[in-house]
């Protein structure tokens, strides 16, 4: 039974041009290979590597969009299950991570919307409330927990697509182009969303973010 992985390397365009096949440990395998192994063989080791590689970024993206651990973990779980069960739909034109982040962030936004429907009385996410909740005294240093909540509230005050773009960029580690792919918009639209998101955050976090 074959358990290993072969690798073939082609170097073209520069000297020397060569083909090399080498052994490749599972830990170094690409996301695409791990996904294929999972899809073909239900390879638990491939899943474990894939999960460990991306769980934290996925969690942080979800947490930024939801603000608490339980909901964020739900979003990560649902997102991973979706990509793992629909692995055959993955197209190698994009990175696996881009696909995963798209799914997880959409799940998180859906969970957030459902939660909002249940808690419409909560208005803290509105911009006015956020602005009033941020300390007026400039330069004051907040402790970690408080600062985290301030940041979450400020992010929650952004329009949904701006918030998603910013979180995918900073916490998800996606490029502008990948965010455009995730959101199904042009690169220019992503530029605009990120620009306005930053400007608005600067305003909301006045006192924490120095004026340029």
């Amino acid at each position: 039974m074959t358990t290993g992985i072969q690798s073939l390397q082609l170097n073209r365009g520069t000297q020397p041009r060569q083909v090399r096949i080498q052994e490749c440990p599972l830990q170094n395998a690409s996301d695409e290979l791990l996904l294929a192994r999972w899809g073909q063989d239900n390879d638990g080791r491939a899943f474990a590597v894939l999960f460990e590689r991306h769980r934290l970024a996925a969690y942080r993206v979800a947490w930024r969009l939801l603000g608490n651990e339980a909901d964020a973990l739900d979003a990560v779980q649902e997102g991973f299950i979706k990509v793992l069960t629909q692995w055959h739909q993955f197209r190698s034109q994009s990175r696996f991570k881009t696909w995963l982040m798209r799914v997880v962030s959409r799940v998180a936004l859906d969970i957030g919307r459902q939660r909002q429907r249940h808690h419409r009385c909560e208005s803290w996410s509105r911009e006015a409330d956020v602005q009033s909740s941020i300390p007026a005294c400039t330069g004051e240093q907040l402790d970690g927990q408080e600062l985290r909540q301030q940041m979450y509230k400020a992010l929650a005050a952004l329009p949904e697509l701006q918030r998603q773009a910013l979180v995918l960029y900073v916490d998800g580690g996606l490029t502008y182009r990948e965010i455009a792919e995730v959101q199904g918009v042009s690169l220019g639209t992503v530029m605009s969303r990120l620009f306005h998101a930053r400007q608005k955050l600067r305003m909301l976090l006045a006192g924490q973010v120095p004026d340029p």
Partner: protein, 240 residues
């Protein structure tokens, strides 16, 4: 002094912000640099956007949520794995050995056998070094990495549709991995994102350096590299 309307000004600043973040490439980057050459005062905006981006990034890093415990991750991983396997089984309409019977399977093997034979002949004419013995099409499934002498239970033969994902990367430094039990399942790794199909590789452009395999059953199996779809790009022989 800026006389542009606000919308245009915001659009321009968004481009400069993207440039400041290093997110522009190619012609768009050159356009912005030309623009900056013509309007050097805009470098102040670049610096301001860089400072803002850096500050916000630092703040977001500092306010990242605490990581869940190892036990939480472990439990989550188990739930995901269990649910995914269940969902995969529930979604499968027919067992794989049923789906892969029929004319499509026969046609696929026939086409692949023809390609194998053609590729082997082509390599024999092109490749210096040891004589190449293409596998006997009557004994070896060309889509399988196994030999006819491999008596272990045969895995489900791969479907050709699974190969359509194997778009190769770019022309330089392509690193491919062989996927066990996927037949000709070569996947590009190491250079994401994938950037379109690789062009035909001529044998005189490459040199086979060596091969390694974890399994003796893979010896003497030619390596098949695919471009898009199921079109073989290159056959290379195994050398001892």
């Amino acid at each position: 002094m800026n006389h542009d309307p606000p919308i245009r000004d915001a659009c321009r600043r968004a481009w400069l912000a993207a440039y400041a973040e290093g997110q522009l490439e190619g012609t768009t980057r050159e356009q912005v640099e030309d623009w900056l050459d013509q309007h050097p005062q805009l470098w102040a905006e670049i610096r301001a956007q860089q400072a803002l981006g850096q500050t916000l990034r630092q703040m977001m890093d500092a306010t990242a949520p605490p990581d869940p415990s190892a036990a939480t991750w472990e439990a989550l991983a188990q739930r995901i794995q269990f649910a995914s396997v269940q969902a995969k089984h529930a979604a499968a309409p027919l067992p794989s050995h049923c789906r892969q019977r029929g004319s499509a399977r026969i046609a696929a093997v026939t086409v692949a056998a023809a390609l194998l034979l053609g590729g082997g002949v082509w390599l024999q004419n092109q490749l210096p070094g040891p004589t190449i013995d293409p596998p006997q099409t009557g004994q070896v499934d060309p889509l399988s990495p196994r030999t006819a002498h491999d008596d272990s239970p045969s895995p489900s033969p791969p479907e050709l549709t699974s190969i359509s994902r194997l778009t190769l990367v770019r022309e330089v430094d392509v690193l491919l991995e062989r996927v066990p039990h996927m037949g000709d399942g070569w996947l590009p790794i190491g250079r994401p994102p994938l950037e379109g199909p690789i062009q035909w590789i001529h044998q005189d452009e490459i040199e086979v350096i060596g091969f390694a395999s974890h399994s003796p059953t893979q010896q003497n199996i030619p390596c098949l590299v695919h471009a898009e779809g199921d079109r073989p790009l290159l056959w290379t022989p195994v050398r001892e």
